[in-house]
């Protein structure tokens, strides 16, 4: 009888979720990411307090600004609008893009692999923790926004840009739905950053690359000539969650956006798994 492995070793128990979570949560960049997202609503609150009444600019989507100070839920909706297309994307790209490349740059990746944490499991745990911290960060943002907005502007019904009103508790449900969709949609920058993270040893390249591609997609989104192929752009549906503020609720774009996000995420993750399974880890 031979000994297959060291006593107590089971591939399925290596790098548990809590261990990986501890590895990531103790990192400064994670703490800064959470800090920024918690701070943003407060900054916005301060800006609104300093800035006096708005001049009623009402462009595409800007109408969420017009009603931003109508109450806590309204303020949270505006916060989501203000952060969804960039800040949150950067934080998610950071959490998901730094996770493997960061280990590679420290040199700790090879020791994890030699533990051995099976490669597939390593990716899975990293992805789960990256996704969980990303989700937690967005939820933190929204929680601070709701609480802060309510403290300053009161617990009032959500006033939608089209003039309807939604009872505060119901509006929390709508905000949760919008946040939920946003989280699903963030799979695109998240898994893209994760793919780049697996392909490179430089965290900056992974995070920056994902954000850059996202920005390029956003720019292409603005080109009218691409209207007919707009739906394939990863950012085509990044504001679809505003459909929850329509009456009746507009979920068609959210469904399309979720499909787009899942397809993109599947492709990115398959590529990531394939790349990592064959990769020669030399860093």
């Amino acid at each position: 009888m031979t000994v297959d492995a060291a006593p107590g070793y089971q591939p399925g128990r290596t790098l548990s979720f809590t261990t990986e979570l501890r590895r990531q949560l103790t990192r400064r960049r994670t703490q800064y990411g959470f800090g920024f997202l918690a701070l943003l609503p407060l900054l916005l609150l301060g800006a609104f307090q300093l800035g006096g009444p708005d001049d009623g600019g009402s462009q595409r989507g800007a109408s969420l600004v017009d009603v931003a100070t109508a109450g806590g839920p309204n303020f949270a909706a505006f916060t989501l609008f203000a952060s969804a297309t960039f800040l949150v994307v950067v934080v998610v790209a950071l959490f998901c893009g730094d996770t493997v490349a960061g280990e590679a740059s420290w040199g700790s990746l090879r020791y994890l692999l030699a533990l051995p944490v099976p490669r597939s499991r390593l990716l899975r745990q990293k992805l789960l923790v990256g996704a969980a911290t990303s989700a937690a960060a967005v939820v933190l943002l929204m929680t601070v926004a709701v609480v802060g907005g309510t403290l300053v502007y009161g617990w009032h019904p959500l006033r939608t840009p089209i003039g309807a009103e939604v009872a505060p508790w119901t509006s929390l449900g709508l905000l949760a739905l919008a946040t939920g969709f946003l989280l699903v949609h963030l799979l695109i920058p998240g898994t893209l950053a994760f793919l780049l993270s697996v392909r490179t040893d430089q965290p900056l390249l992974a995070v920056g690359g994902a954000v850059m591609l996202y920005i390029v997609s956003n720019i292409l989104d603005l080109v009218p000539a691409l209207e007919s192929v707009r739906f394939v752009l990863p950012t085509a549906y990044n504001l679809a969650w505003t459909g929850v503020f329509s009456s009746p609720l507009q979920y068609e774009d959210m469904a399309k956006g979720a499909i787009s996000a899942l397809l993109y995420a599947t492709v990115f993750l398959l590529l990531a798994w394939r790349a990592f399974a064959r990769k020669d880890v030399v860093s």
């Binding site: 070793y9 103790t26 692999l113 944490v117 089209i162 469904a255 397809l263």
Partner: protein
Amino acid sequence: MALPSRPARLRAALSRPSVRRRVVTGAVVAVLVAAGITWAAWPSGEPYGSSDAMVTVRSGPGGDEPVTLDTGLYVPRSATSAHPAPAVLLAHGFGGTKDSVATEAKELAGQGYVVQTWTARGFGRSGGRIGLDDPAYEVNDARRLLDRLAGMPQVQKDRPGDPRVGVVGGSYGGGLALLLAGHDPRVDAVVPQITWNSLSRAFFPNSDGGPATSGVFKRSWAGLFFGSSGLDPAAILGGGAAAPDASGSPAPSSSGAPASGGPRRAAPPAADPQCGRFTAEICRMYLEIATTGRATPSAQALLDRRSPQSVLDRITAPTLLVQGQADSLFPLAEADANARGIAANGTPVRVAWYSGGHDASGSQADQDRVRFLTLQWLDRYVKKAGSGGTSFTFSNSGGLNLSTGRVTSTGFSAPAYPGLAGSGDPRRITLSGPPQTIAAPPGGSPAAISTVPGLGAAGALVGGATIDVPGQVASFGSGPLDRAVDVVGAPTVRLRAASATGEAVLFVKLYSVGPDGRSTLPQGLVAPLRLTGLPRTLDAAEPVRVALPAIAYRLEAGQRLRLAVSTTDQAYALPTDPTTYQVAAAGDLTLPTVPATPLAATGSLWTRLLVGLVLVLALALAVGALVARVRRRRVSSTVDPENADRPLVIRDLSKAYDDGFVAVRDLTFTVERGQVLGLLGPNGAGKTTTLRMLMGLIRPSGGEIQVFGHRIRAGAPVLSRLGSFVEGTGFLPHLSGTDNLRLYWRATGRPDADSYLAEALEIAGLGSAVERKVKTYSQGMRQRLAIAQAMLGLPDLLVLDEPTNGLDPPQIAEMRQVLRRYATDGRTVLVSSHLLAEVEQTCTHVVVMHQGTLVAAGTVAEVTGESSSVLVGVDDTDAALRVLAGATGVTRAHSSDGGVVVDLDPSLNGTGRIEVVRQLVEGGVGVDRVSPRRRLEDVFLTLVGGDKQ
């Protein structure tokens, strides 16, 4: 020797599997991307041919006035004289040209219809003057086009001279479609969209049902149509009014097309700048009504001759009426009148409302619905293929989609068209409020704003654009609604009014008021009212029934209603004399309802797709996990029993990197339990590559590694019996040394008790520094911590790569002790080093590598032990070599740095050296020293020296 040709080199390069794979993958991706772009951008092969022609037809009351029309013809390729196709006459909106309907024409041609488009007389490049769908001119023009279609062999005929044809058009074109159907029995089906029943009522509405002669002049819309005749109405109406043309439906205007027609106009320049391209008759009529604000009987007669209402009883072609809910020009009541008039003959009529109209383009879903219904109607009654329901569909505008800025809507369906009074139980709402006195300002200014032609309620929808002037408006409010009500149709209310002049012009609006007090005027629609014969006081006033504009609008529970009666409205001609009115509500407000079911939205389709996708992905994930588990189990169960007790067996191991560099070549050696094996070689000898392969980090390109009989691959469980420190440390810099080791051990998932953390930390010897963050450590401290990490759990095989780098001499000495002790109870240590002394002092066994190959292997004693070679220092090398050439006991001699190297016959057992010295001295060669050569050093120095060259 010739260089290999380029293809040969390419082939050579491609023959490396990884390169080939990458090239192939890249090529496949490139082809797919290119194909995708091509597919998206390539114009799909057109299944029809199109041609333009300037056609002169004889028209007018006597059929003898020639006019040149700019026409376009789209013929499906499938249409031949043997297989003729049905035809569609496609008319454009006011201010447009045949180009405005090109998109829809192509779509219909793609569906197998011969499509005839043309620019109506007075527009674009066509000749003639605008007669406002005059039966003698515009309608006769269209009849001549029917003649033309009848003469085409590829057009299907009902009988000679009678083509199978449907007529489709929006607004101006819709009016023409109905009038044509009334004047020419050859028409087989009509689809008039957003058009009028009575032009006089459309421009002189009176919501108490009075005649146009007492109506209130819809000044701003009329101004856009008539007053701008010399200009492009489209330029004034702007993009906002280009209502449904995004869907390909005919529109009252279309951006772009008229502008390009300007300089090429075939029509004579307008003689009278006042009249533009209108006929003199129309022009005179307009100047008259616009000046007085009243319709004279002659004006009414002129307008009515151009209205479908005059021919409804003659229409036998099945009619699909599409009317816009956002339409302050031709409101839903116009389509209602058409529907009732045509249905009275027993002609099939279907009605559809959608969220667009002259004021908005409508939601995408609604545009799709209109397109679908139009095609379904044509297929049923022109192509006579397929069936279609008779249901009435409408749309509940739900607001704006913030990400696209478009109106959103939910479609509803009812079994049959109920008319404007609804088919369900009407809701009665009690209005309260005292009688109020309101003022009509002199000159009609300032005026309330409710509708902006072409923009309609777009402003009102986002709140704030609807303005009432205080003092000019009487309000009657309701309590909050106890439950939501979907209003479908025209609400009605009774009012009483009194006026000092006996006459009153009033504008009645029904606002929905949110809980926050904000008012919304559905679609910005207003009911204008001219009352005559009013008493001076309310006491004597009779109730007047007012039909408010028809809407499809959801009122939520908790909302209230406010009936506003205003004396002014910007969009209408107003009395100029100041006066006051008294107004009172007389009875309940009646809200019509229609029992309807929501249409399956495309959203639900996508939601179902999403659910399906999630299920598929979940299934794929589960299957993938299962397959991976089975495969893992199969792989890990293969053990080579022969080597089950050998810590390490390396066989024919090779590693060639992608760039062709061969780091390790055919390496074979074995490590037994209890050994401290030194892997010795200069930098670049392939030591680290070998160790990486041993850890499963990189894949060998040939041969295999077995650890305790298990073949090593990425993540092989047996790696858990191996502790390693290879090529630099790897710590989380923000954590302390202890935390790093603790987390590392936790990541193994093994019991804490097995970690021997304390012992490892003792070996690291970092003292209190273990509690400091690793990023503050020196290189040596990190090194020691890394070795401690490798020893966690006391692995059976400890692999250390250059462990003494960066350590100071006492620590090196200590490390040697540690490593030797570590191997005592059956454990094994593998140390790589480029220092001979290091290996000599630490190891029991040694493997020497150079340029990826094994040079020597064995016990240190064997490899480094004294050999039978000696280095002899002599004063004359040549003489010495001469002497030694024939000496006994010498197998070989050659010169070397500082003397000659002499290989002795090993059988002499050491006496050979004495013999060599004796012979040299006897041969007259001076000997100054004799030193033993150690083979390892010899080899090693040669190798290192060789590397320096």
